[in-house]
């Protein structure tokens, strides 16, 4: 049969695409021949139904394709078997009870095509054929579930490898001072994306092999700086994170309005946020105090009408170093 083309009335826009889960993606990426059971048990049209029952019982299957000269001619499922048993006709040949118009899928079809057939037809298994119509396997819903689970497992391994590679990033690069610089442009009043930069930085640090505590401290500091840019600046600002094996330097800078009294701004509980912003739960006056708690060093330079530059640093001792892998940490010797 010809595979059903994807529904034409549903336009995949960015909004829809965002909501597609990894499992759904995989249903399109994986091919039927990657998840099917190859060389399945097959029956011949002449096989006696009594032997079919015996074979199902031994192989613990509930259906099998009927093949003649390499061509698929039918299928016997539980339903056919029950039909035969009701007639007390176990000495009949398979060809008498098999279902003849068999739904099939091609090995090269995406798994989603098979899923569509399973949903619309309620069959339990689909014979898989090649371009010449020869049987190459059989597909059940269980095969698809197993295939998807294996693929998801592979995804996790890929993330592990990615993490491993990133955690050795600096090892093979020779320079007097190697660093990785991440830049994020923050728009004013963009509460929708508030926290995106800090989440991305946290993820990057974890991939680079930072300890969860370091990633958390850095995430909190960057989050507060990010929200300050969103809440207070006129035209937004930039967050720049420089990652070196032994330190993380963060800068958040903007071009206005500037802080009139930095010392007062640092005081826990002091805030200039508007009522509207406070209703969203911001403006507790804790942002800069939180940053001070999370970083080893912070400096604020601010000129009214010119802008503000907030510099933060987190030092990493030998055990916490990022991007150099565990072996180099050992080489350096942990005191």
């Amino acid at each position: 049969m010809t595979p059903t083309p994807p529904s034409k009335n549903v336009l995949i826009n960015d909004q829809v695409a965002e909501n597609i889960t990894r499992t759904e993606e995989l249903a399109y990426e994986l091919r039927v021949n990657e998840v099917m059971t190859s060389s399945p048990k097959i029956l011949s049209p002449e096989m006696i139904m009594r032997d079919v029952v015996e074979m199902f019982r031994k192989a613990r299957i509930s259906g099998a394709p009927v093949v003649q000269d390499e061509n698929l001619v039918g299928i016997i499922s539980m339903e056919d078997l029950i039909h035969c048993l009701c007639q007390s006709d176990l000495d009949a040949q398979a060809s008498k009870y098999m279902t003849r118009n068999v739904l099939t899928v091609k090995g090269t079809d995406p798994v989603v095509e098979a899923l569509k057939i399973f949903v619309s037809s309620k069959v339990g298994r689909l014979p898989v054929i090649d371009d010449q119509g020869r049987l190459i396997g059989i597909l059940t819903k269980g095969d698809i579930t197993r295939g998807l689970l294996k693929a998801l497992q592979r995804d996790i391994q890929v993330e592990e490898i990615r993490k491993y590679r990133a955690s050795h990033l600096f090892e093979d690069i020779e320079s007097d001072r190697t660093s990785l610089i991440l830049r994020y442009n923050i728009k004013p009043r963009d509460f929708t994306h508030g926290g995106a930069a800090s989440s991305n930085i946290k993820r990057a640090l974890l991939r680079l092999g930072a300890s969860p505590q370091i990633a958390r401290r850095c995430g909190i500091a960057v989050y507060e700086a990010e929200m300050n840019l969103i809440i207070h600046t006129l035209r937004g600002g930039v967050i720049r994170v420089e990652i070196e094996p032994n330190r993380i330097s963060i800068e958040a800078y903007d071009d206005g309005p500037g802080i009139p009294d930095v010392e007062l701004a640092m005081k826990p509980g002091y805030s200039t946020a508007s009522e509207e912003i406070r209703e969203l739960g911001f403006g507790a006056g804790m942002g800069l105090a939180n940053i001070a708690r999370c970083v080893d060093n912070m400096v604020i330079e601010s000129v009214v009408d010119k802008g503000t530059r907030l510099k933060m640093r987190i030092n990493l001792d030998k055990e916490e170093s990022v991007g150099e892998g565990y072996s180099s940490r050992l080489d350096g010797g942990i005191s």
Binding site: G194, G195, S199, R216, M227, M286, A289
Partner: protein
């Protein structure tokens, strides 16, 4: 005490996609509607009780590795917030009760560290 028992005893509604809540053990609890206070006060894997329902609670919960967020007084997050929570693996729970009652019940059933 695991999260499934808490959801059951406090009659909370799970807003994010279903997952096995029995394997999650909150380390403690924290309540505030001021995000910076949460940033400074909430411990890893703790439960956060708040009536804030906008998208930024997900960012806060993700950055702090919180166990789950209980949104009180029936405040309803936008679908985009729930979707973001699903992506970040954050559990959002909802109740019509006010924060005070929720915290009281959590204390009563034994979640007392903060």
């Amino acid at each position: 005490m695991n999260l499934a028992q808490i959801v059951d005893q406090l009659h909370l509604t799970l807003l994010t996609e279903p997952r096995d809540l029995t394997e999650l053990q909150p380390s403690g609890g924290y309540t505030s509607d001021l995000l910076s206070c949460v940033m400074s006060g909430a411990k890893q894997r703790s439960l956060w009780v708040t009536l804030q329902a906008h998208g930024n609670i997900v960012a806060v919960a993700a950055l702090l590795d919180l166990c789950a967020v209980i949104i009180t007084e029936g405040a309803q997050p936008e679908p985009a917030t729930i979707e973001k929570a699903n992506q970040e693996g954050i559990i959002l729970l909802s109740t019509n009760e006010p924060s005070f009652a929720v915290v009281g019940k959590l204390w009563e059933i034994g979640l007392r560290s903060c």
